[in-house]
């Protein structure tokens, strides 16, 4: 639609016309702010924990486990140098014994969600699919944070109580 709009503007005499082809989806998927009646609706990106620990494929599992636990976490997201999500290590994977590499221990290709998905949708999906946590990423796969089912469910529960 926007290419046609751009050409139409040129046909009307506008000389300096640009087309942001990736559009509103790209903007919102990057977790950037919007205006409008939905701007105040809580979304996955608002509730995701931005301080989630990360590690790279070439780190040692034992060292990652110690670092993550020292920060009070039992989950770590495996990312590359561009913070693209490659895998997830939850408590069970972190507890793996022996000389396993991060690559061997991680859950590869975890389901990810965009930050503009509403908290209500996320709560429903995560409960139905028994999803304990999920990375929130840009459309390019860049990590924005980790959303916990308990956080989003508590938030929705709090909103319902608050609206009584």
């Amino acid at each position: 639609m926007s290419p046609r709009a751009a050409w139409r503007l040129e046909s009307l005499g506008f000389r300096d016309v640009y087309d942001y082809t990736a559009g509103k989806l790209d903007w919102m998927a990057a977790g950037l702010p919007t205006e409008g009646i939905n701007a105040a609706v809580p979304r996955a990106g608002d509730l995701a924990r931005k301080d989630v620990p990360t590690c790279s494929l070439d780190e040692r599992l034992e060292e990652v486990r110690e670092r993550v636990r020292a920060r009070g976490w039992d989950t770590v997201v495996v990312v590359n140098e561009k913070r693209i999500v490659l895998g997830l290590l939850r408590a069970r994977e972190l507890e793996a014994l022996g000389e396993r590499s991060i690559e061997e221990a991680m859950r590869p290709g975890p389901s990810t969600f965009r930050p503009f998905v509403t908290a209500e949708e996320m709560a429903r999906f995560m409960v139905e699919h028994r999803l304990e946590s999920s990375p929130i990423t840009t459309s390019e796969g860049g990590l924005l944070g980790l959303l916990f089912q308990k956080d989003v469910v508590e938030h929705m529960s709090g909103n319902k109580h608050g609206s009584r």
């Binding site: 503007l9 300096d16 087309d19 409008g36």
Partner: protein, 67 residues
């Protein structure tokens, strides 16, 4: 010929005063739009409607995605 741009180029152009136009139906604009964008749905783009725009400044159009 219109120039295709990405998010970073959009921000740079906005910083230089470009006008931002959402061409989706008005109902979609009302729900969510990029900060500072105006609504000018594709079907309503004509000589009269474009009086809202400054012809001496760059114009960036966008819709939902590239599809």
């Amino acid at each position: 010929m219109p120039t295709s741009i990405d998010r970073q180029q959009l921000r740079a152009l906005r910083d230089r005063g470009a006008q931002l136009v959402e061409v989706l139906p008005a109902s979609e604009y009302e729900e969510d739009h990029l900060p500072g964008a105006i609504s000018l749905p594709l079907r309503h783009i004509d000589r009269e409607a474009t009086r809202l725009l400054d012809r001496n400044r760059a114009v960036i159009v966008y819709c939902w995605d590239s599809a």
